[in-house]
């Protein structure tokens, strides 16, 4: 029984992991684009993006899932998401996490002293060289801690997709609960814990790698 449950839960967790990996794949670059929009000198773009980020960060992810899943069908009769629940989850998660990443990127970028950019400038370096050779690593060091928090939160947030009936690990566990077995539900915690721990170890390693220098 134990191995049967473990295998079934693992299949459910693979859905959670797929969502996790794909969300990161798309939201990390999207967050960068949103960050540029937040810092845009064109006021309408800046204000529009600030509004979008405000709404996304100010409303529950669960609610956003329901909106993305149901609204296209209600408003336009579109079946794009009702026929592909995983896609609805992916789109929602990507945009949601991109908004959080955008704010983290922006904070990291703006924490770099202007003098660092100017020091590159007086040495005759191009903007690209200044960013790649001087600024980027400093930003990565600054944002490593908040990014690790968000990534670990994403692992756990994948459980929310059950509200639009995506069959992830907890939904699988609930099938056993419906048959009178409660322990598989608690057992799902082990999967999350192991994966979160692995991520924590990875981020700790990365933070230690970047600890060789300190900003002054």
């Amino acid at each position: 029984m134990f191995w049967e449950v473990t295998l079934e839960l693992a299949k459910g967790f693979s859905t959670s992991l797929s969502l996790f990996v794909l969300t990161l794949l798309f939201s990390l670059p999207l967050g960068l684009i949103m960050m540029f929009a937040l810092r845009s000198k064109i006021k309408p773009i800046k204000i529009a993006m600030e509004g979008i980020v405000l709404v996304i960060r100010g409303t529950p992810l669960m609610l956003q899932l329901l909106i993305v899943f149901f609204v296209p069908g209600i408003l336009w009769g579109s079946v794009i998401f009702s026929h592909n629940r995983f896609l609805a989850a992916l789109v929602t998660f990507t945009v949601n996490y991109a908004a959080y990443f955008a704010v983290i990127y922006k904070g990291g970028f703006e924490s770099i002293p202007r003098g660092q950019f100017e020091a590159g400038q007086v040495l005759g370096l191009s903007r690209r060289q200044i960013f790649q050779k001087i600024i980027l690593l400093q930003i990565i060091k600054q944002i490593m801690a908040p990014m690790s928090n968000e990534v670990i939160t994403l692992v756990k947030d994948t459980s929310l997709v059950r509200v639009i009936a995506v069959v992830e690990i907890i939904k699988v566990a609930e099938r056993y609960t419906a048959r009178g077995l409660i322990w598989p539900l608690f057992y799902t915690g082990a999967f999350y814990l192991i994966f979160s721990t692995l991520l924590s170890v990875l981020f700790n390693y990365l933070e230690k790698k970047l600890a060789y220098f300190e900003t002054i």
Binding site: G115, A119, Q121, V122, G124, Q129, E214, I216
Partner: protein, 224 residues
């Protein structure tokens, strides 16, 4: 014409004139000190010459030619602005490497030689946070000088350091002067200024105060 000629230089920020039309000249190998109180426009003048601010009015001539860009100037920031993720050696060798000014070995050797000339031989592999303020300043000077600037500019070189180091900084600038380096030094410290200056101009409220000028021009308010 002098080696460096600045004519009627003016700069404003948001309709406030910070530099109101100043002129001065400098011969090769001299050290010009720009002194004055905070807010007088001293650092702004230096930033204009180094391309960090756009000049609104006026012209700058170097060696008889009108200046097109700031590549002939080297700049040492008040807070040094060393790159924290690079060692002292890497801070100095970064720019020449990116400009392809020689092979990796040549650039590294030149950087090592320069750092050694600033008594930093034992510190070349240290990161800026591991260096003292005085050591960081010398790395910052080496970083500017590796590109062979015509004129080295230093913005308030004593401000970020322990006051007890003032004389050491003065010695360093005088040593560079003896080696033929043309320098422009901004400072609010008149005692320090008197120690190092071949020429001194006193900026107050965007103008050069004529009482502190010897043989320099003051053109007063810039033409509109």
């Amino acid at each position: 014409m002098a080696y460096l000629e600045v004519k009627n230089l003016a700069k404003q920020f948001d309709n406030e004139k910070v530099i109101k039309g100043i002129s001065f000249s400098l011969e090769k190998g001299q050290t010009l000190v720009v002194a004055g109180p905070s807010g007088a426009g001293k650092s702004t003048l230096l930033r204009c010459l180094n391309g960090l601010e756009e000049i609104d009015q006026g012209e700058v001539f170097l060696n008889g030619k009108k200046l097109k860009d700031s590549s002939d100037f080297g700049f040492v920031f008040q807070q040094f602005q060393l790159f924290p993720q690079y060692t002292a050696l890497e801070n100095v060798s970064l720019a020449p490497s990116l400009h392809n000014l020689g092979s990796k070995q040549e650039i590294e050797q030149r950087s090592l030689d320069l750092l050694e000339s600033f008594s930093l031989k034992e510190h070349v592999h240290k990161y800026p946070y591991q260096l003292s303020g005085g050591q960081r300043q010398r790395v910052a000077i080496a970083r500017a000088m590796i590109l062979d600037p015509e004129i080295l500019c230093l913005d308030e070189p004593t401000s970020a350091l322990d006051p007890a180091l003032r004389d050491q900084v003065a010695e360093l600038i005088l040593e560079l002067n003896e080696k033929g380096m043309t320098q422009i030094v901004v400072t609010h410290d008149l005692v320090f200024a008197e120690k190092i200056a071949d020429k001194l101009i006193y900026l107050a409220d965007g103008f050069i105060d004529p009482d502190y000028v010897s043989g320099l021009e003051n053109s007063g308010e810039a033409d509109e």
